[in-house]
């Protein structure tokens, strides 16, 4: 039905929801798609719940309003499940991906998201093990590609290299790419 793919990202200020939304969009741009990536700015401070959005399409994207009915939702911080309605506007044919050590069933009960697809990925653990810090936004991109192959993983990885190499050096960049790969492999679908 929809010719524009819409993803909503939930995170806390400083966790990189905006960056993740943008990485995905830029990888899609590399594939010749039309893109939009934008955060929802409020009076945010580090730690406050934030949302970011990605729109991807083969055709033009003229819409400039916020996303109300996303095709998929990515939750970068599981504590947000207590704070915000992460499934708001999410249809039965959508998907919900949560960074958590809990099971798919647990998340289904917790969110009461009955019919759609749910996936879980312990991105915080992966991030700590690969990067040595908690930066779960990049691994969550791997989890997303597992659920929905929006772009080939190599394209996303190239995007991460392009962005990170100059900023944080080769070692940390490759650690991010490893985190994406691990998340892709370790994501559990339900």
């Amino acid at each position: 039905m929809k010719d524009i793919l819409e993803i909503r990202w939930h995170g806390r200020g400083g966790q990189g929801a905006k960056t993740a939304a943008q990485f995905l969009a830029e990888a899609a741009l590399d594939m010749g798609k039309s893109i939009q990536a934008f955060p929802e700015y409020g009076p945010e401070r580090a730690g406050a719940p934030v949302r970011a959005y990605t729109r991807i399409s083969d055709g033009r994207i003229d819409t400039h309003s916020g996303v109300t009915n996303p095709d998929g939702v990515v939750v970068i911080d599981h504590t947000l499940l207590e704070a915000v309605d992460v499934t708001e506007g999410l249809g039965d044919d959508g998907f919900l991906i949560v960074n958590t050590s809990e099971s798919v069933d647990f998340i289904r009960r917790k969110t009461n998201y009955k019919k759609g697809k749910i996936a879980v990925c312990d991105a915080t653990k992966i991030s700590l093990e690969t990067l040595g810090i908690s930066m779960p936004n990049t691994p969550m991109l791997g989890a997303l590609l597992r659920v929905r192959p929006i772009v080939p993983r190599e394209v996303l990885e190239n995007e991460v290299r392009k962005k990170f190499l100059k900023k944080i050096g080769e070692e940390k960049t490759e650690a991010n790419i490893k985190a994406i790969k691990r998340a892709f492999e370790e994501t559990q679908l339900g």
């Binding site: 830029e26 798609k33 039309s34 990536a37 055709g59 819409t63 400039h64 916020g66």
Partner: protein, 403 residues
């Protein structure tokens, strides 16, 4: 822009940039002699990005980091009068603070180009998009062009240089885009080659330079009952000239860069019975709604004025002449109790027209309140009612406000 062109664009080599970054890129390519600016949300990224370009030696521009917007525009006035190609950028309260000098820049006929990232004026304090800042400055004598997205903002900034500096015009230009909605949204931007932009804008040579000691001139002398009126009359003439000259400049731009920009942009208006008129990013969202409603068989259209100053009266009258009902959407309030500024100017233009649609006003999106396709559909549905009944139930409505 036509459908085909937009689709072609998607296949090109695009760069992922926010609307602010797109403006920074335009400024890099324009490479003004002088930029005097003060950062303010949501314009900050422009000043930050351009300062970085100066620091990195990527442009030869003289960057003046001033202590306020009043100083920014004052420095721009001095710089422009001296014959330097001059730019600045601002938003909301920043524009309000430079107010006094904004009028002076236009009155002294200085071709300063100023990207304005539209943001609600305080108070209560708000950093999000509405058009109260630039709409408040609509009588300042500046040309105003409104941009739907980052791509348009980028292109408008480039073409603005030529418009401002045209000998028949010589007026400053505000290049407006919606704060956060497009200024902070990343989209694929089609950047033109540097040399092509430089070639298009050419060199700026001011006839009378303030710094030409061989031929001394005076800028801004006391201008009382004997001459002030004549100078104001000249400004009106320049705006009138702009109406005729801007299409010529756009023509050249279109030919050079493969675009189809005009003073106004109509969408599916040819056989439309009702239409919405709206500026900037909301025009994009409305276009999507038009397509959806067309599929349902509704004869709806859209008119996006690109230029608000000069006001393209003839083009707007012509575009709306076959409609039965039209809704004009204003992202600012004038507190006249007569609706927003866009509504009032269009209604006034329609007064002269023999064939005029019934016109209603919707004020929306104040302080960044989001407007959704569902809101726009509601407007088209209400227009359908007006079309059928020939009756206006509410002349001015507030779209998206809580009752």
């Amino acid at each position: 822009m036509k459908v085909q062109e937009k689709e072609k664009m998607a296949k090109k080599n695009l760069t992922a940039l926010t609307g602010d970054q797109a403006i920074t890129e335009a400024m890099r390519q324009i490479e003004p002699d002088v930029v005097a600016a003060y950062p303010i949300t949501p314009q900050t990224e422009i000043v930050m990005g351009f300062s970085q370009l100066v620091a990195d030696g990527k442009v030869k521009t003289e960057m003046i980091p001033v202590e306020s917007e009043h100083s920014a525009m004052s420095a721009c006035v001095g710089s422009s009068a001296s014959g330097a190609r001059t730019m600045t950028a601002t938003s909301a309260n920043g524009l309000a603070l430079m107010w006094e000098v904004v009028y002076i820049a236009a009155s002294l006929r200085l071709p300063i180009v100023m990207p304005v990232v539209n943001r609600a004026l305080s108070g209560p304090i708000n950093i999000h998009c509405d058009h109260s800042d630039t709409m408040g400055a609509r009588d300042s004598g500046w040309i105003q062009v409104y941009s739907e997205n980052g791509q348009e903002a980028y292109e408008n900034a480039i073409v603005a240089v030529r418009i401002a500096e045209h000998k028949n015009i010589m007026l400053p230009v505000m290049v407006c885009q919606d704060g956060f909605i497009t200024s902070h949204a990343v989209e694929g931007i089609d950047l033109f080659p540097d040399d092509k932009v430089k070639q298009f804008i050419g060199e700026y040579k001011r006839e009378h330079s303030l710094l030409d000691v061989e031929n001394p001139v005076t800028y801004g002398p006391l201008d009382l009952q004997d001459f002030y009126f004549e100078h104001k009359r000249q400004q009106v003439e320049a705006m009138g000239n702009a109406l005729n000259t801007i299409p010529e400049i756009l023509d050249e731009f279109n030919k050079t860069f493969g675009r189809s920009h005009d003073l106004v942009e109509g969408y599916r208006l040819d056989d439309a019975e009702t239409a919405i008129v709206v500026l900037s990013s909301t025009a994009g969202t409305t276009r999507v709604v038009v397509d959806e409603l067309r599929k349902e068989g509704m004869k709806v259209g859209l008119l996006k004025p690109r230029f608000f100053r000069p006001f393209p009266k003839e083009r707007i009258m012509k575009s709306l002449s076959n409609l039965k009902a039209v809704a004009i959407l204003d992202r600012s309030e004038s507190f006249s109790t007569l609706g927003g500024p866009l509504f009032n100017e269009i209604k006034s233009a329609l007064y002269e027209s023999d064939r005029r649609p019934l016109a209603v006003n919707y004020v929306f999106g104040l302080g960044g309140r989001d407007i959704f396709p569902a809101d726009i559909k509601k407007v088209y549905k209400e227009l359908e009612e007006i079309k059928k009944t020939r009756k206006i139930r509410s002349l001015i409505s507030y779209l998206g406000v809580r009752e």
